[in-house]
Structures are given as structure tokens and as C-alpha cells.
């Protein structure tokens, strides 16, 4: 495309609205406006210049702030919809989601489920919205930042009169001697930390230009943040697993390739003491309040000389107390205290007893998580565990079965071998219930007690994307502070015959620049510029 040569001699890229160097309006309509549109310095933006090919059209669509704002607003409304009822991940696991929503919230809940709002934030259309915002961020920024950078770099000290006249802050002072020195003004400008450029006795004072880059810096931060979100879908970058571990147990930590083991020494649940001096009122109102959830653990690493297939040799790495807000961290992994189960049955003991004489012939203690197949009591007495149902129920066919591997309701089929019954007697034993299939046993397994253990529920987390989010978030904060807390201010002072012209521009906070100009011009004999917008408003 052809370039535009300005009357000042500067060659501008095609599509430039205001000459990058002297600021004269290059487009006919702009010369008739009272105030110049100073956004992006009237630079040549691709989106405002080309609109022929399909790429131009896509570029122009996403480079529009209007489109960007619409995307933000639609995302905002969609996000709000997702909070009307809880998302699927937060509903209690009592029944399938398809039933839960209708059961709890009636036809509205059913509709919510049917529309897929129960998983709204991972729905394809929500992800498309977020992705569109990402594309909009990239294109909007590129469309503006490059020409803006050019325009601010090429700007000349002496601006064209039609540029100065159309600034919001503009004023003319008649003077006797047009060569009056600007020393005092320059001194004041320097005090206000303006950097000053002079050309033929004219001044351009400028400060805070870097605040103009704030929006682009924060957009880059956001893009990096979104890239972090995308990387989560790469296998291995993000691990979310659960480890249920009983007191006294040592287990391999999932997702560590068998390299790390954890031993749970003790789980503790503490509650606040009812007679607490300070909190007694609150505690009597709200009942029990938890004070601490803690798992005392030992972390082990598999020794290098361990042989595959054999039981691993473990080297202790460290002892740690995992509490809420205090995860155990190692090698990019973190273990969090998230759940617990108190008093899970761990062992159950029985006495082998003669039903008539009540004579006891020994006691067996069955580890409910790893029962042995045979317990030898000596003198010809022993007990075989023929079947074990950790979580006993009668299934739909009326047969004994187990619901899960967790010993919530243990039941056994024992074979009691005694000297007088060498083939054994069979007895089915469950909690509060004994069934003898042949109904003529001489011996029984008399319940002798239980032991319980607490179980810690830990989340195993590895997140290799965290640092990307951290970088993105940090850049965003830098950019947004840069743009919000600093202003880009420029003051032009020019000599023209018997007049001193002054014009001012800021990207925001006009109140501030007016106050500053007033202080700078004090005692200089130059009048304060007028605020052209305010004048129109007052009329």
C-alpha cells in the first residue's frame, strides 16, 4: 500500500489519521472536528485500514473492543448461570446427577441438568468463550500497540497548529516579547519529573509514557495465564489423585511411579474446648467446632538397590504433620489433608468357645484388611477363614456378598477345627448374628472385641503449570498497576509571532494535569490553557 507523505515531510504508513511527526490531520473529515480523537494517537491500525480478505475480516472482528466487551459480558452472564444450582462436582454423591437435580430442585433442576449447566465451566461453549476472549486479547493488543509505539516514537517537538488547537487543553497568551525565556517553566517541569525536549525554542514535556504500555503488559499476562490453563490438558502436567491411608499403614503414593511411600502414624481430630474463655458463647451457639485435622506421616523413597518384584526397600525422607493449610511438599508433589474417617474397624477378635461348658480354647485376632486364612491355636485347635465379606450384605439373589473392600460390616465363614471334630464345624459369623448351616455345632466363635483405626484422606497433587499461572498473574498485576496508577501526560509550549501557545494532553485524570499545569505556569506570564470540553458543557 502507498505511504502518506505529510506536508512536514514525514512519511506515514497507509491509514494514518494524524501525522506521526507533526500531528496534522491527514484525513479530510478530521480537519473539521473541534477536538482530535487522540486514542492511539491517530495511528494507522490494521483493522481500520484493510477490509478485503477473509483474514482482514477475522482480524477486524476480533480487534474490535466492542466485540471484546460483548465477549466479556456474555462470559459474565454464563458464569452467573452456573452458580444458580451447585455444579456437579459439589453435589453429594448420594445419587446420580440426573436424578439429583430433579429431586432437589424440581423441573428447574431437571432443565438445568438437561442444558448441561451442571458442568457449565467445562462445557465446550464456555471454553469457546474463554478462547475467543484469548484471541481477542491477542489481536486487539497487536492491532494497537505497534502503531501506537511508532507514533509515540516518531512524534516531533514542534506540532502543527491544527494539532495544538484541537487538544482538549489549549490556550494562547499574547506577549510583548516572543523570546521571553522559558527557564522558570522548564525548571518547574523538571521538578514535576517531566522529560523535556526542545526544538527551535519550542518545548515538548512528557512523562509517564510507560503507562501507555500497561494495558498491553496486562494482556500479555492474561494470555500467559490462559496458556497455563491450556497446558493442564497435557498429560503429566497436572495430577489430581486421592490417597486413603489407615493409621499404621504404609502405602505407595499414587502417580509417583512407585518411587514414594507414605506411612500414616496417626490421625488427629481436635475440637475446640466448650469451656473456652473467649469463644464460649459462639461454641454454645454452634456446637462442636473443629480445631485441627492432622495426619502425622513419614515419607519414604524407594531405595535405588530395590529389586523389582521384591518388597521395596525404603529410605526415610522426612516426618511431617500434614494439616489443613500445611501440605507436605516433595519433588513437585504436594499431599493435602482433605478428608478423614474416624474409627474404621481394623481388627476383630473371637474366642473359640465350647457352647455348653463355655470353655475357651484360644483367641484369634483377625486383621480386617488382611485376614489370614488359618489361625492355629495349638493342641489341635485351629480356625480357618473360609470366606470373608468386609462389607457384608445379602445380594439380590439372597447370597452373602460384599459391597466394598472397606470393613464397614465384616462377616466371616469360619471352619472351627478341634480334636474331637477334626473335619471342623462351619459357622457364619457377622455382627450381632451367627448362622450355623448344620445347626448342631458344639463350638462357637464368641465375639471378643474390636479395634478401630482412623483413616486419613489425602489429595495427591502435582501441578507443573503453576509457575506459568504465577508469571501470568504477576505480569497482569504489573500491567494493570502501570496503566492505572500512572498517567501519560504531555505539554506542548510553542512560540508563534507575538503569541505563546500551550496545549496539554493526558490519557486520563484531567483534573490532575490541570492542577499540575497551573503550578508549572505560576509566575511565567503564560496563561493557563482552557478546558475545551468543560467550556462546551458550561454552555
Amino acid at each position: 500500500m502507498k505511504e502518506v507523505k505529510c506536508e512536514c515531510g514525514h512519511v506515514n504508513p497507509h491509514g494514518t489519521v494524524l501525522c506521526e511527526s507533526c500531528g496534522i490531520p491527514l484525513i479530510e473529515e478530521k480537519t473539521r472536528e473541534k477536538l482530535l480523537d487522540m486514542r492511539y494517537e491517530g495511528s494507522a491500525r490494521r483493522s481500520q485500514t484493510y477490509n478485503k480478505t477473509i483474514i482482514d475480516k477475522i482480524w477486524n472482528f476480533f480487534s474490535s473492543v466492542k466485540v471484546g466487551v460483548w465477549l466479556i459480558v456474555i462470559t459474565l452472564i454464563a458464569s452467573a448461570l452456573g452458580t444458580i444450582f451447585p455444579q456437579e462436582m459439589y453435589i453429594p454423591p448420594v445419587m446420580p446427577a440426573v436424578e439429583y437435580y430433579e429431586d432437589q430442585y424440581g423441573w428447574l433442576g431437571k432443565m438445568y441438568y438437561e442444558l448441561g449447566f451442571h458442568n457449565l465451566y467445562s462445557s465446550w461453549w464456555y471454553l469457546v468463550l474463554i478462547a475467543s476472549i484469548g484471541i481477542s486479547l491477542v489481536i486487539c493488543s497487536l492491532d494497537r500497540v505497534v502503531p501506537l509505539y511508532r507514533a509515540l516514537k516518531k512524534q516531533r517537538v514542534t506540532r502543527h497548529e491544527s494539532f495544538l488547537k484541537r487538544q482538549r487543553l489549549f490556550g494562547i497568551t499574547q506577549v510583548e516579547n516572543k523570546d521571553i525565556p522559558f527557564d522558570g517553566v522548564i525548571e518547574n517541569l523538571k521538578k514535576k519529573r517531566y522529560s523535556i525536549r526542545e526544538e527551535n525554542g519550542n518545548i515538548l514535556a512528557e512523562k509517564g509514557r510507560f503507562s501507555r504500555w500497561g494495558p498491553y503488559v496486562n494482556h500479555v499476562g492474561l494470555i500467559i495465564f490462559l496458556i497455563g490453563g491450556m497446558l493442564r490438558f497435557v498429560p503429566g502436567m497436572y495430577i489430581d489423585d486421592v490417597l486413603w491411608i489407615r493409621e499404621g499403614e504404609t502405602k505407595v503414593i499414587p502417580e509417583t511411579n512407585g518411587q514414594y511411600y507414605l506411612e500414616n502414624k496417626e490421625f488427629t481430630l481436635e475440637v475446640y474446648d466448650k469451656d473456652h474463655e473467649v469463644f464460649d458463647e459462639a461454641l454454645s451457639n454452634s456446637g462442636m467446632v473443629a480445631k485441627n485435622y492432622q495426619s502425622d506421616v513419614v515419607l519414604y523413597k524407594r531405595a535405588d538397590n530395590s529389586v523389582a518384584g521384591e518388597e521395596a526397600k525404603l529410605d526415610q525422607v522426612k516426618e511431617f504433620s500434614i494439616r489443613v493449610n500445611e501440605p507436605l511438599k516433595f519433588e513437585g508433589y504436594a499431599l493435602y489433608q482433605v478428608e478423614y474417617k474416624l474409627d474404621e474397624l481394623s481388627t476383630m477378635s473371637f474366642h473359640l468357645t465350647n457352647k455348653e461348658t463355655n470353655e475357651q480354647f484360644g483367641k484369634i485376632s483377625v486383621d480386617l484388611n488382611e485376614p489370614e486364612t488359618k489361625y492355629d491355636l495349638g493342641n489341635g485347635y485351629s480356625v480357618e477363614v473360609m470366606s470373608y465379606f468386609p462389607d457384608f450384605e445379602f445380594n439380590s439373589e439372597g447370597q452373602p456378598a460384599t459391597k466394598s473392600r472397606i470393613p464397614n460390616n465384616p462377616a466371616f465363614v469360619f471352619n472351627m477345627i478341634t480334636p474331637d471334630k477334626p473335619d471342623g464345624e462351619i459357622s457364619f459369623v457377622a455382627i450381632q448374628q451367627t448362622i450355623e448351616p448344620f445347626e448342631d455345632n458344639e463350638y462357637k466363635m464368641a465375639f471378643a472385641g474390636i479395634e478401630t483405626k482412623d483413616v486419613s484422606g489425602l489429595t495427591v497433587r502435582k501441578d507443573l503449570t503453576l509457575w506459568i499461572f504465577a508469571v501470568g498473574g504477576f505480569l497482569f498485576m504489573v500491567g494493570v498497576a502501570q496503566g492505572a496508577y500512572w498517567n501519560h501526560r504531555r505539554i506542548w509550549i510553542q512560540r508563534r509571532d507575538q503569541e505563546i501557545w500551550i496545549a496539554g494532553h493526558t490519557n486520563k485524570n484531567w483534573h490532575g494535569i490541570k492542577r499540575e499545569i497551573k503550578e508549572i505556569l505560576e509566575g511565567s506570564g503564560i496563561n493557563e490553557p482552557d478546558d475545551l470540553i468543560k467550556e462546551t458543557e458550561d454552555k
Binding site: L283, S286, F469
Partner: protein
Amino acid sequence: MANLSSNLLFAAFILYLVAIPFFGGAIKQKNGSKEQKSPNKWANIAIFLTIIGFIAQLGYFITRWMAAGHAPLSNLFEYTTFFGMCLVAAFILIYFLYKTPILGLFVLPVALLIIAYASMFPRELSPLIPALQSYWLQIHVSTVALGEAILAVSFGAALIYLVKSVDQSKRSKKTVWLEVVMFSIVSVIGFIVVTTTFSLMDYKATYNWIDKNQIESTLEYNMPALVGPHQGELVETGKFEPIIEVPAIVNAKKLNTVIWSLLAGVLLYLLIRLILRKRIGAALQPLTKNIKLDLVDEISYRSVLIGFPVFTLGGLVFAMIWAQIAWTRFWGWDPKEVWALITWLFYAAFLHLRLSKGWHGEKSAWLAVIGFAIIMFNLIAVNLVIAGLHSYAGS
């Protein structure tokens, strides 16, 4: 210590209350005279009282912290009170930047209402549950409150803008919406009046009812039940019988409170209209006579510019860091998280509209009002109705 703390909060409340008429006086004085260079005597007294009140409230905060052994930012009362305090702090800051007494006349009553609203919730010192035992509690919560408070100043300024700029000579969409805003504020007063009245009367009525899981439970009302719980049966005799009954999934007690507040709000609003014989917006308009529209527009915009990064830092960045530590993940689409995101998206849209689409003045003022409504929704509805992981804040 706990007593001293409550007394200091009460003192702060009274001081803010007394400061308001002085801000009113500061504006009246300016009538007729030319724009004054420095604030007048009334304004000086007003801001002095506000600062003393702020110091008293700071004293409340510090003594309560000492008494409880943790930052008093752990439940709805403590958070909301702190939010009110931040609002006053943000106002004092903006006052010294722009020297505008009228802002005090609009922002201080809002702060007062917020503190009074906070006091309607359980005020006793309560212990921290394990999830809250972290130094991130004070970092995250205080930054969010500060950010939201600065954003709330933009609402105050926007309200001044609208009161001044909306044409009150005839009824229009704008006058109606402005009255909706006024009515919402009056309803908060209604809520406070109703709650205080029934609590002074020590009203209690217990119901046996069937909850949504078909389990029989009891519910204690502190206000006469206009709306009764699902299959509710009054335990005591001689108490008010509910007029209607709601299905089990609706929280009847909260709905009842909302209805009472709205009724009181309507009554109060009608009473005010009867006395004023014009719209509240119209009655307030003369107060804004001497303020320049472009100045309040700028205050409103600047508050958003200052508050937005602070809110982002507290409500998203610090929130994410703490969530990663306490909840194993920095983001989990919990309702409170989502509403923080919504607030953030809204103000992001606000800034884009203002910077690029030239939405200045009245449009920008309406946006600031909507932004504040979102913040209030997040504070009230999300805590009390939607709950989720942040539900401890609802106690």
C-alpha cells in the same frame, strides 16, 4: 477487651452519624457564594469527626484482634464491618485528593448502613476452623474488602452524578431506575429496623417442619412468620401463624426476612415520599447544585482505576494462592470464586467501555451503580443464599 472493642465500634458508628449533617452543612454554606478555594469550617469539622470515627473503628478492629487472637475477618459480621471501615478510609483518601464534602454526604450513609447491616449478624467472637487458620486470612480478606470499598466510592460519586444529571421535571426511565436505587437503600434500613425491633422484643417462634430430604426438623424464627416452612407446625401457642407455606427447597426463614425487609422498605419509602412530596432523587438534587459533573465523573472513574487492581490482587491473586494452599487447587468454580470473577469481568468491561468506546458521564455512572450492585450481591446473596465453600461467612 471484647467489651472495649464493641464500645469503640459503637462510638465510631455515632461519630459517622454526627459527621453526616456537618457534611450537609458544608454544602449549604457554599450556596450563593463563588467556588471556594478551601473547604469551609463545616467541612473541616465533618472530616475531623470522620477521621476520629475511623480511628475509633480501627481501635475496634485492633482490640477485637487482640481478644480473639486472630484477625477479625472470619465471619459475615467481621467482614462487613471491615468493609464499612475500608469504605470510610477510601472516602477520607478521596476527600483529600478532591476536597468534595458532598461525597461524604453520599458515601458516609452507605458506610453507616453497611456497618448497621453487619451488626444484624452474630457478633460473638468465634474460633477459626482449620481452613481459616492461615496468615492468608488477613492478607486475602483485607485486600478484597479494601478493593471493594474503593470500588464502592465510585458508586457514591456515580450516585451524585445521577442525582444531579437526571432530569427530574418529568417521569422517565432514568428517574424510575434512580428511585429503584434509592428504594434498595431504604430497604436496607427496613431490614435493620425490622431485625432490631423483633430482637428487642425477643421474638421467638419454633416450627417443626419437613425438610427437602423428608426429615423432620425444627426451625426457630426471630420474626413473625409471614412465610412458613414446608408442612410447618408451630410449637408454642399464641404466636403468629404463617400466611403461606413454601416448598421444602426454599429457605422459608430467609425468604420471610426478605419479605419483612421489603415490606418495611416499601412502608418507609412511601412515608418518605409522603413527607417529601417528590421523588427522593428530586429531593436530593438541590444538594448537588454546586458540584461539577466532570469532577464527580472523574472521582467515580478514578476510584474504579484505583480499586480494580486492588480488588484483582485480593479477590483473585491472593485468593488463588490461598486456595492452592488450603483447598489443593487455586480455582474450583466455587460460587464465591465465580462471583469474584464476575465482579472482575464487569469492571474490566467498564474500563474498556470507558477507555475505548468513550462511555463517560451518565453511562459510566450507571455502570458504577451496577458494579456496586454486583458487589452487594456477592456480599449478601452469595453468602446467605448460594453459600458453597465460603459458607462459614454466612453464619
